[in-house]
Amino acid sequence: MRLRLVPQDTNWDFMRYRKFTFGASVVAMVGAIAIWLIVGLNFGIDFLGGTTIRTESTASVDVAAYRAALEPLGLGDVTITEVFDPTFEAGRNVAQVRIQAQEGAESVTPEVIAGVEAALQTVDPSITFPSVESVGPKVSGELITTALLAVGASLVAILFYIWLRFEWQFSVGAIAALVHDVVLTIGVFSLLQIRFDLATIAAILTIIGYSINDTVVIFDRLRENLIKFKKTPLIDIMNKSVNETLSRTLMTSGTTLLALVALLVLGGDVIRGFVFAIFWGVIVGTYSSVYVAKNVVLMLGVDRDPKKPSDAGTQFANIDA
């Protein structure tokens, strides 16, 4: 007996709820932007500058005592968070100490780091420092620019590729879906205050990659069906295409999510934020392929001239068929 995530032949009317889902997407995006503007993102040192020191100790972490020990150093804003992780064995206590960028210094001076380490050692002699990372304000500014550039460049490249292979309506639909995914991801990051750093940007780009992957597969089927059924209304073809690819969509999302869950639970705390972003992105990306990308294409309409040999797609559409 084979495992089937969906019945062999489905004929669900996905597009029936299009107004509701599209409305929900718009509300979610507005909400995400609002949270982002009000709460803000928890930027890591990659974007803000500053230093993070990871501490590890056999004794349990006493945040108040750490704070008290660091107080006399006058370092400005110091954040101390205890790190919990299911993969840690007993007697392994980890904390993250974050120090803001120091006035006038390009990167934190060795004296500051040595001072912090010495102060923490007085609280807990068994403490060790498995990692110390420090980014100067000059670099962090540039990292933000590069990150935005990367996201922008990816969107443009995809816009262009889809336009070549399909039609401009598909391009717009795909980009709308991607923007939707990126905005919702940023919203979740500000809502849960997960640290937002360079790895997060990599994750967002991966989400873009995954989401577009999903969207393209459905578009591809849509294009095929547009050629096959020249008279059928667009909305029915869309439903048919989604139904036909549904099994594949769920299989791929399913296996990817399985892999990601393994990484999320067992991959350690260092990359958890990164993996979480991708995990979230796979879910949103799957949703947006159906309910955002196709909605937009439906609203824009597709030129279907029955006299032309091929209705959908440009001269680059059939190079591999």
């Binding site: 990692s131 393209v216 791929t252 296996t255 990817t256 591999d320």
Partner: protein, 554 residues
């Protein structure tokens, strides 16, 4: 019908075998690494010892020995992003012009009168002349010294700009010359950092230029960024100056020919020296740590012939006079010349510890940095943290793989098993390619591989789903399989090209771990397309030929 030419079958097989062979050394990481280190040591001219022989024997020479480099976040080590203070060099360049300028102006002394170098910002050379009416003559004379620039971009440009106002002649470097100097400075800095890091004997450091004035240094296995900074952050400019006065006030005003520098060991003491050094560290050919006659740590050095001659001439002419050994604008020691030193070698004693003497000799051997550096970014990752990440990544990958395998076989039966074999080959190919190109595996890179494991089956899923559909209408299973592959191809190509575009952009714009992720993602896309389209197809075709099933269930 379902046919694949023999040569195609063999090529597919060959690619898989080569991939597996290239990936294999990674299963024996420790022994292979020791073998490679030993081979490296021999190549660099080390004498074979029993240890080296033993390490060599750990892995057969005939087998591939390429390994995936582990990134700093996995192995532990230090990462530094340094900015080279390019403008530092301008001062030195202008100092270099001064003797020529002086001699030229002396040639037209009747018109310009006496000349005197003035204190000035570091990127200017200012000369005061006593007869302002001769300014134009002076400017013209100095301007004649300008040389055309020899560089690709600076064709037709002169190296210096000369201006005059009142009784001051100002010489500055032209923009083209600055650009040429900047480039040279950075190249030289890269080279010297590389030499210093090599001298310290670390493994596989990454030393790369980034942008116009930055250098990225990543050294695996080093204890801390601080240690690395001490090694490469020191300019190590060694110079030997005549002493004018051994003790002056710290804020002594100096004219252009003099320089007041503090004593390294006694901060309250300042010496007045002649600005132009007798000899510089550029003339050094060797330097070793050692001990002086009192058994204190010291650093010995040896000059090249021209340095030895200059040093010999100066010391024989100035017996009884003090001279100062200056390191990075601090006086290390200021002995009195007892006798002419003509042999070209000498010794620096100061209040060194053994480690300091050792480090100073490394720095002197490697040469001076042309300019100072500031550090914009520094990261230290402890080796334990890296090992934890590797372990976690391994466990996660295995669990992910197992879950995907179970899921695929449950869904597609035998075809799922074929996809699973392809998945295994896929992961091996990723490691094989990474080892071949010397790619670096980082923590996000492991995530990239795990994600690839999840996504790799996508192409197969597309094909299998398509075969299922075709089975409903097509005549016979063979035709359905063929159509399945044919019709799914367009979606597979489109889906993977778009993801590949992202990988390329990530690689171009990213740095460090992000780049590592982009590399594994990009390679993963290529290999998963290969395995999904060719490997599973080959497996299915071979199976089909043997069984000739009348019906198939996918």
């Amino acid at each position: 019908m379902l046919q694949i030419a023999l040569w195609k079958r063999l090529s597919i097989l060959l690619v898989c075998v080569i991939g597996l062979a290239l990936a294999a050394p990674n299963l024996f990481y420790g022994p292979v690494e020791r073998h490679n280190d030993a081979a490296d040591a021999l190549e660099r001219g080390a004498i074979s010892t029993p240890e080296i022989e033993a390490a060599l024997a750990e892995w057969p020479d005939a087998l591939p020995s390429g390994l995936v480099n582990l990134g700093l976040d996995l192995r532990g080590g230090a990462h530094l992003l340094a900015e080279v203070q390019l403008q530092d060099v301008y001062e030195g360049r202008l100092d270099g012009y001064w003797p020529d300028v002086r001699d030229t102006l002396r040639g037209v002394r009747e018109q310009v009168g006496t000349i005197r170098r003035q204190d000035s910002p570091p990127d200017e050379l200012r000369i005061r002349i006593s007869r302002p009416e001769g300014l134009q003559v002076a400017v013209d004379a100095v301007r004649d010294l300008a040389q055309p620039i020899v560089s690709l971009t600076g064709v037709g440009e002169q190296d210096i700009d000369v201006a005059g106002a009142g009784d001051i002649v100002t010489v500055t470097l032209s923009d083209a010359e600055k650009a040429a100097t900047d480039d040279r400075t950075l190249q030289q800095s890269l080279e010297i950092i590389r030499r210093r890091v090599d001298e310290a004997g670390t493994r596989e450091p990454t030393i790369q230029r980034q942008g116009a004035d930055r250098i990225l240094i990543q050294v695996p296995g080093i204890g801390s960024a601080q240690e690395l900074k001490e090694l490469i952050g020191t300019t190590a400019k060694l110079t030997f100056h005549p002493v004018i006065s051994r003790s002056v006030a710290a804020d002594t005003r100096t004219d252009g020919d003099q320089i007041a520098l503090p004593d390294m060991d006694d901060a309250s003491r300042t010496l007045l020296l002649e600005r132009s050094p007798v000899v510089t560290g550029d003339d050094l050919v060797d330097s070793q740590p050692g001990f002086d006659q009192n058994g204190r740590p010291a650093v010995t050095f040896r000059f090249n012939p021209s340095g030895a001659r200059k040093f010999g001439e100066y010391t024989s002419a100035n017996i009884g006079a003090p001279f100062a050994i200056v390191l990075d604008d601090e006086v290390v020691t200021d002995p009195t010349i007892q006798s002419a030193i003509t042999g070209g070698s000498g010794q620096i004693t100061g209040n060194f510890t053994v480690e300091e003497a050792n480090r100073l000799s490394i720095l002197l051997r490697a040469g001076a940095l042309p300019a100072e550096m500031t550090f914009l970014e520094e990261r230290t990752i402890g080796p334990e943290l890296g090992q934890d990440s590797i372990d976690a990544g391994q466990v996660a990958s295995l669990v992910a793989m197992a879950a995907v395998v179970v899921f695929m076989i449950a869904s597609y039966g035998l075809f799922g098993a074929f996809a699973t074999v392809a998945l295994g080959i896929n992961v091996a190919l990723i490691f094989g390619i990474l080892s071949l190109i010397g790619g670096t595996l980082t923590l996000p890179g492991i995530a990239g591989i795990v994600l690839t494991i999840g996504m790799a089956v996508d192409a197969n899923v597309l094909v299998f789903e398509r075969i299922r559909e075709e089975l409903k209408t097509a005549r016979g299973p063979a035709r359905a399989i063929e159509l399945g592959y044919e019709r799914a191809l367009s979606a597979i190509i489109d889906a993977n090209i778009t993801t590949f575009i992202i990988a390329v952009i990530l690689f171009t714009l990213g740095s460090g771990p992000v780049r590592g992720f982009a590399v594994t993602l990009g390679i993963g896309i290529l290999t998963s397309v290969f395995t999904a389209i060719f490997v599973t197809r080959l497996l299915i075709v071979i199976w089909f030929e043997r069984r000739r099933p009348k019906t198939i269930e996918v």
